[in-house]
Assembly symmetry: C2
């Protein structure tokens, strides 16, 4: 277990949805953005990232479509739905609650 793996568990979906709030995006780009935002302290493992996409799409929180790149590798773009936005908002609240709880207990 690295430093943050268990402590970050459960935030993957929220992290992805946060990124998609700004614009439609795809896996590789989202992960690069995470690395830049955190000065390379953190990145999602690919298997984690893509399994989160599956969950989110199955739950109707995001939808996907293939990009129309004429060159380079193909990209599957994701867009957040209204349900996804609501879920994100709830997750933010849950985080605030969890943070308070943890600060109280540790």
């Amino acid at each position: 277990m690295n430093i943050t793996s268990d402590l970050l568990r459960g935030h993957t979906e929220t992290i992805i949805l946060k990124h998609l709030l700004e614009k439609d995006s795809y896996g590789y780009e989202i992960n690069k953005a995470i690395q830049e935002k955190t000065n390379n302290q953190y990145e999602l493992k690919e298997a984690t990232l893509y399994s989160a996409f599956r969950r989110l799409e199955t739950s109707g929180l995001i939808v996907s479509y293939w990009g129309d790149e004429q060159t380079g590798a193909r990209r599957r773009y994701y867009a957040i739905t209204n349900e996804g936005r609501a879920y994100y908002t709830q997750n933010r609240k849950d985080w605030e609650d969890a943070k308070t709880l943890i600060e109280t207990l540790i």
Copy 2:
């Protein structure tokens, strides 16, 4: 998944160690203390609590001994070791790092 289960994952050991920093204690008492501190918002499930004790003891972070109660149910007391103290301190630091990371990303 209830509100906090995944967000609190990985903090169980730290919560227990924090309590043991103050005094030797036993499972039931630790859990009651958690409930009081959080105004009944949170409690450790028994299976979670006792499996954490097993892990902590196997790792040498706590040691246990039976209480000498003359009445009532028997109690297994736990005491934190020096290794446990060091582990707690590290966990606190990891939490600060994780918190910063999460705030950056969600």
